[in-house]
C-alpha cells in the first residue's frame, strides 16, 4: 500500500484502513476507466464471471456483509429473497439518494471512483441474474451524474457492460436515473415508485422486501452505494477472509462521516469495531474546538437518537460484572450502540459542543422532517408540522412546561403508525432530545405561557378573557 500517495492535507489517519476509499483524494487518480484498470479494476469481475451465480451469493452470505444504507440488513440474505422459480425479470437498483443529514460518504465514491461502484454493481447483478439495473442518484449531484454517465459509456466501450460481458454470455444494461430532491426517495419502495414515474410514496408492507415485488412488479434488489462497493471487496478478498476482520456481527470496513463541532470533520474509513467513539472524535477528528467541550453526539445520521456525552452508561462484562462507561467507550460497529438505545445507521456522526442549544438543534431537525414528510400517512403529515410548531414555540420562549411533554407525546404517536420508517426517523430525535435534555427545554418555558394565545384567531377569541401583559 506504500506506493499510494494522497493529496497534501488529505492523507488518511494512521487508525484508518482505506479499502473502499483507497482512491479517494489519491494523487494522480481520476475517474476514468484507464486509471481504474491500471489499479487492478475489473479483475474481480472477470473472476466472478467464471463462477456460478449461486456461489457468488454464498460467498457474500459467508462474508456476513451487512448493508450500509442504515438498516444493516445482511446483503447476501437479501439477495436470496428473490422467489424460487421466478420467471419475471430481476432488477437491481443502486440507492445513491444519500440524503440523511450527516451522511456524506457516497458522494466521494460517485464523484471520484465511479468504476468501483459499477464493478460492484455488475458483480451483484450477475449474482442475482439481473439484466437491467438502475443507479438512482439524487438531484443534488449533477456533476456526479455526468461522471457516472461517462463511466457507464466507458465501461460499455470496453465490454464490461452491454451484451455478452467479457464473453461470459451475461448481458447487463445500467441506467442512471436522477431524483429531484426528495428525502423520501431514499426509502426503497419510495425510490422504486420514483423510478416508475409515479409520486414516490412508500409502498405498503408486506411484502417487506422489494425482492418479492418491486420495480414494475418484478423482484428487485435495492442496495446502497457503499454496500455494492463492499460486495466487490468481498469477492476480491474471499468471504471467509472478509468475515474474519472487524466486529464479529458486522465485519469489514465502515465509512464514517463526522460533521459538526470537531477540529477535523470529514470522512474516515475504519475497520468495523476497531476503535471507539472516543478514539474517533479525539484522535482522528482532533477533539473539540479550543475551549469547548463535547455535549452531545448523534451517532448515525439525523434520525438516530442523540447521546449525551456526560451520561453514565452501564454495560455487562463477559464475566458478569457491571462496568460503567460513557458514550466515548462504545466501539464503532453496527450493533454496540444499539444496546444503549441509539443506532449506528448510515455512519453519519454529528457532534455538538457545549455552546449549542439543544432545543434549537431539535428545531432544525424538526423543520427538516416537516419539510420532507411525503404526506401519505396522516400521523406523519400532520404530526411533523405540529412538532415543528411546538419546538419553535419553545425556542422562542413562548412555550409552557406542558409543551415539552406534548412534544414528546406527539412524537410517541407518530412512531410505528406510518407506512414507512420515516415515522420512526422523525420521532426518534424528538423523543431522545426531550428526554435527555429535558432541563434545557424546560428552562426556556414559562408556566404563564400555557394561558396565552399563540395564534391571531385564538387571541381574538380570548380578548375578553385574558389580559395582555
Amino acid at each position: 500500500m506504500s506506493d499510494i500517495t494522497y493529496k497534501p492535507g488529505r492523507e488518511p489517519h494512521p487508525k484508518e484502513t482505506r479499502r473502499i476509499f483507497k482512491n479517494i483524494d489519491r494523487e494522480g487518480y481520476d475517474p476514468s476507466i484507464k486509471c481504474f484498470i491500471k489499479d487492478g479494476g475489473y479483475k474481480t469481475l472477470k473472476k466472478v464471471l467464471k463462477m456460478e451465480p449461486a456461489d457468488v451469493i454464498n460467498e457474500v452470505k459467508k462474508s456476513g456483509l451487512r448493508g450500509r444504507g442504515g438498516a444493516g440488513f445482511p446483503t447476501g440474505v437479501k439477495w436470496t429473497f428473490i422467489p424460487k422459480g421466478n420467471t419475471k425479470p430481476v432488477y437491481l437498483v443502486c440507492n445513491c439518494d444519500e440524503s440523511e443529514p450527516g451522511t456524506f460518504k457516497d458522494r466521494f465514491i460517485v464523484h471520484q471512483d465511479p468504476h468501483q461502484l459499477l464493478e460492484g454493481m455488475i458483480i451483484a447483478c450477475y449474482a442475482v441474474q439481473a439484466h437491467y439495473a438502475v443507479i438512482y442518484m439524487r438531484e443534488e449531484f449533477p456533476e456526479a451524474a455526468r461522471i457516472m454517465n461517462n463511466a457507464i459509456k466507458e465501461a460499455e466501450a470496453k465490454g464490461y457492460l452491454g451484451t455478452d460481458i467479457q464473453k461470459s454470455g451475461f448481458d447487463l444494461k445500467i441506467v442512471l436515473h436522477r431524483g429531484a430532491g426528495a428525502y423520501i426517495c431514499g426509502e426503497e419502495t419510495g425510490l422504486i415508485n420514483s423510478i416508475e414515474g409515479v409520486r414516490p410514496y412508500p409502498r405498503i408492507k408486506p411484502p417487506f422486501f422489494p425482492a418479492a415485488i418491486g420495480l414494475y412488479g418484478c423482484p428487485t434488489i435495492v442496495n446502497n452505494v457503499e454496500s455494492l462497493c463492499q460486495v466487490r471487496q468481498v469477492m476480491m478478498m474471499g468471504g471467509e477472509k472478509y468475515a474474519a476482520e472487524g466486529a464479529q456481527r458486522s465485519p469489514g470496513t465502515r465509512i464514517i462521516g463526522v460533521s459538526g463541532d470537531v477540529k477535523r470533520p470529514g470522512v474516515y474509513e475504519i475497520i468495523s469495531g476497531s476503535i471507539t467513539y472516543g478514539e474517533l472524535l479525539y484522535d482522528i477528528c482532533g477533539g473539540p474546538r479550543i475551549g469547548r467541550k463535547f455535549k452531545a453526539i448523534i451517532p448515525g445520521g439525523a434520525s438516530a437518537k442523540v447521546m449525551r456525552c456526560d451520561e453514565v452508561l452501564t454495560d455487562r462484562n463477559p464475566d458478569g460484572t457491571i462496568r460503567e462507561m460513557s458514550v466515548f467507550d462504545i466501539p464503532m460497529d453496527l450493533d454496540s450502540i444499539a444496546k444503549f438505545g441509539s443506532m449506528s445507521g448510515s455512519g453519519g456522526v454529528i457532534v455538538m459542543d457545549d455552546t449549542r442549544s439543544m432545543p434549537k438543534c431539535l428545531n432544525n431537525l424538526n423543520r427538516f422532517f416537516a419539510w420532507e414528510s411525503c404526506g401519505q400517512c396522516s400521523p406523519c403529515r400532520e404530526g411533523n408540522p405540529w412538532m415543528l410548531k411546538l419546538s419553535t414555540r419553545i425556542c422562542e420562549g413562548k412555550g409552557s412546561p406542558e409543551d415539552v411533554d406534548l412534544l414528546k407525546s406527539v412524537a410517541d404517536n407518530i412512531c410505528g403508525r406510518t407506512v414507512c420508517a420515516f415515522g420512526e426517523a422523525c420521532s426518534w430525535p424528538t423523543q431522545a432530545f426531550t428526554t435527555k435534555f429535558r432541563d434545557e427545554f424546560l428552562a426556556l418555558t414559562k408556566p404563564i405561557n400555557a394561558l396565552k394565545a399563540h395564534s391571531e384567531e385564538a387571541k381574538e377569541a380570548r380578548k375578553f378573557l385574558t389580559r395582555e401583559d
Partner: protein
C-alpha cells in the same frame, strides 16, 4: 370563470418571474422530441412513464422551469396524463414551477450546515444579491431578485455535511463558504452577465 381559481388552475397558473429573460421560452422543437425519445428508450418496453423525471430534468435544464405548457407535452412523450405529470411536478422540491434567476443559489439549512453558520450565511447572501429574505416561505421557497440574475432557495441537506456551510450555485457546489467567498461568487456572476450583454 370564477374569481378564485380552483386547485388545478392554481397549479397551472403562470407565475411570472424576472428570471425568464435569461431562458428561452418553452417550445417543442424536433431536437427536444428527439431527446425525449432517447430518454424514453432507456427504460424497458412499455414503461415509458419512468422517463417522466428525466424529461422533466431536461426541460428544466433547457428552459429553466416547468411551465404549464410543458406539462401536456411531457405527458404525451411518456404516455402518461397531464394530471399525473402535474402530480410529479408538484411533489419534488427540485422541480421549479417558476423561473429561477440565471444563477440559482441553493443554501443548505440542515443541522450540520446550521452548526457551521448556514443561517447567517443565508441572510448575508440574500442581502448581497438583493432579495428580501422575509419573502421566503414554505409555500414558495424560491425568491428571484428584481433584475432576474439571481435567485435563492433554502434546501435540506446537500450531503456534504463535514464541510459546511454548503451552497450550490446552479450545478456547482461550494463548501466551507465564507462571506468573502460569497462576494467572489456574486461578482463573478455579475461580470459574466455584463460580458454576455456586451457580446449581444
Amino acid at each position: 370563470m370564477s374569481e378564485t381559481p380552483n386547485a388545478i388552475d392554481a397549479i397551472t397558473a403562470a407565475q411570472p418571474s424576472p428570471g425568464e429573460q435569461f431562458f428561452p421560452k418553452f417550445e417543442v422543437t424536433p431536437e427536444l422530441i428527439e431527446k425525449a425519445k432517447e430518454l424514453v428508450a432507456l427504460y424497458p418496453e412499455g414503461k415509458e412513464q419512468s422517463a417522466v423525471l428525466p424529461i422533466i430534468h431536461h426541460v428544466q435544464e433547457e428552459f429553466g422551469y416547468i411551465c404549464a405548457d410543458a406539462i401536456p407535452w411531457i405527458a404525451e412523450m411518456c404516455k402518461s396524463t397531464p394530471i399525473h405529470v402535474s402530480g410529479i411536478v408538484t411533489f419534488y422540491p427540485g422541480i421549479h414551477r417558476k423561473c429561477p434567476g440565471k444563477f440559482h443559489f441553493r443554501v443548505c439549512r440542515t443541522l450540520a450546515c446550521a452548526l457551521s453558520g448556514g443561517e447567517e450565511l443565508m441572510a448575508y447572501i440574500c442581502k448581497k444579491i438583493g432579495v428580501n429574505q422575509a419573502e421566503i416561505c414554505d409555500a414558495e421557497p424560491m425568491v428571484v431578485s428584481e433584475n432576474g440574475i439571481f435567485s435563492i432557495e433554502p434546501v435540506e441537506c446537500l450531503a456534504n455535511c463535514g464541510f459546511g456551510p454548503n451552497v450550490m450555485v446552479n450545478d456547482t457546489l461550494y463548501s466551507q463558504v465564507t462571506r468573502k467567498k460569497v462576494d467572489e461568487i456574486v461578482s463573478a456572476c455579475k461580470k459574466q452577465v455584463a460580458a454576455e450583454k456586451k457580446n449581444k
